[in-house]
């Protein structure tokens, strides 16, 4: 029946019909193979542009903040300096050896004698948020000596003055028969580098 309609068409109408069908097919093909890919490519290019422009905006913002960041770094370095100066680094693998080099002149100056130093297990510090990669801990060293009570206190006062980040963890001063030769034992703590969180 359809073919009879086509056959019954006037030649002009038939030609027009064929031309219309061909042009319609051509425009469908043009949409599918030219317009649609171009649309997709444009959408992709716009996404890429937005991404790059966002990145550039962030880069520019960071570049604008560079002086402030530099200042922040300088002030952080300054705040960390006292800790870095007091950080107990092992000497010949022993923290007690390092502590000896710090405490010996102070103890001798306070009239203490028979000084001895022993390494102790480190103690962990609470964790801050955000977590740093380099963690720190408390490094105790046991210090024992003989001397008077006032000698021990003068040693402690001088230590606290000259090394304000050295903390007293525990103390024991026991009287002996000689008042100038009391048994002194102190556990002193330093800040020290701990493990790494990552």
């Amino acid at each position: 029946m359809n073919s009879s309609i086509f056959q019954n068409m006037a030649p002009n109408a038939r030609r027009s019909f064929i031309v219309t069908v061909l042009l319609g097919a051509a425009s469908a093909m043009a949409y599918l193979f030219a317009v649609q890919p171009a649309e997709e490519a444009l959408a992709k290019a716009r996404r890429e542009y937005d991404e790059a422009a966002g990145k550039l905006q962030m880069v520019n913002a960071n570049l604008r903040n560079a002086p402030a960041n530099k200042e922040r770094l300088v002030s952080l370095d300054a705040a960390l300096k006292p800790f870095r100066d007091e950080m107990l680094e092992p000497l010949l693998g022993s923290c007690a050896m390092r502590a000896k080099s710090i405490l010996e002149p102070l103890a001798a100056g306070a009239g203490l004698s028979n000084m001895d130093y022993a390494d102790m297990s480190p103690r962990a510090l609470p964790l801050p948020r955000p977590l740093p990669v380099q963690l720190h801990r408390r490094q105790p060293v046991r210090f024992t000596a003989h001397g008077s009570y006032m000698g021990a206190i003068s040693f402690l006062l001088r230590l606290e003055k000259e090394h304000p980040l050295v903390a007293l963890q525990s103390l024991s001063i026991s009287a002996t028969t000689e008042p100038e030769r009391q048994q002194i034992e102190m556990v002193l703590e330093w800040p020290a580098k701990g493990g790494r969180s990552k």
């Binding site: 042009l23 890429e48 550039l56 962990a124 510090l125 720190h136 001063i173």
Partner: protein, 220 residues
């Protein structure tokens, strides 16, 4: 006079034309052609926009490349600053837990009454840290303690001639010079010695006092 109606149709079916002034056989190809032209214009517009977008992206990328070194340096600085800030926070926890004891012990020495002898003064060591979960000891240990305070006390043992001397010493320890450092003082033990040290002297009272001190607080 009546005229007879007569209509003669000699047109073949294919030769019939529509009475409409708009002829479909002309309009349809034109519309189809217009569709093609529309597609071409659409494609041309899209392609132009694409070329422009790519050019802009390329400009932005070359600007990014030009700023890369400076930016990398800044990012490095920011990373370092964040790390140092976190490290400083933990070291401030350490500083928070530093307690000065020298002055306190010097003052205690001045306050010991004449008729009292201190045999031992002690700050006991803190208990060991529990960095493993007791419920699951196989789990790797924690990196840090979950609490940030350590309780501190000062234990003093000695002898005094009278119990009133001990009471007055306890009152001194709870008094003004130590209010920031020492808290409540409690008697852990008190007993009279069985024998006087020298013949004719009164029997001394041995005591053990415990002063609760300010906690070491490992916090900013």
């Amino acid at each position: 006079m009546k005229r007879a109606a007569f209509h003669l149709n000699l047109l073949a079916e294919s030769e019939k034309l529509s009475s409409s002034p708009i002829r479909l056989r002309v309009m349809l190809p034109i519309l189809a052609l217009l569709a093609i032209v529309g597609m071409a214009v659409w494609w041309g517009t899209l392609t132009t926009q694409l070329v422009l977008a790519r050019a802009k992206t390329s400009d932005v990328r070359s600007e990014l490349a030009a700023k890369k070194d400076a930016h990398d340096e800044i990012i490095g600085g920011m990373t370092r600053a964040n790390e140092e800030s976190a490290q400083l926070k933990q070291l401030e926890f350490y500083r928070g837990g530093c307690v000065r004891w020298g002055g306190t012990f010097a003052t205690i020495a001045e306050m010991v009454p004449v008729r009292m002898q201190l045999a031992r003064i002690e700050i006991p060591e803190p208990p060991p840290q529990m960095l493993r979960d007791p419920k699951n000891p196989k789990r790797p240990p924690l990196l840090g303690p979950t609490n940030d305070t350590e309780s501190v006390s000062v234990v003093m043992t000695g002898r005094a001639a009278r119990d009133t001397t001990i009471v007055s010493f306890m009152e001194s320890l709870e008094g003004a010079p130590f209010t920031n450092r020492l808290g409540r003082v409690t008697v852990k033990s008190v007993q009279q010695e069985p024998q006087p040290q020298k013949r004719g002297e009164p029997r001394l009272i041995a005591f053990e006092l415990e002063c609760r001190a300010t906690d070491r607080r490992f916090a900013e």
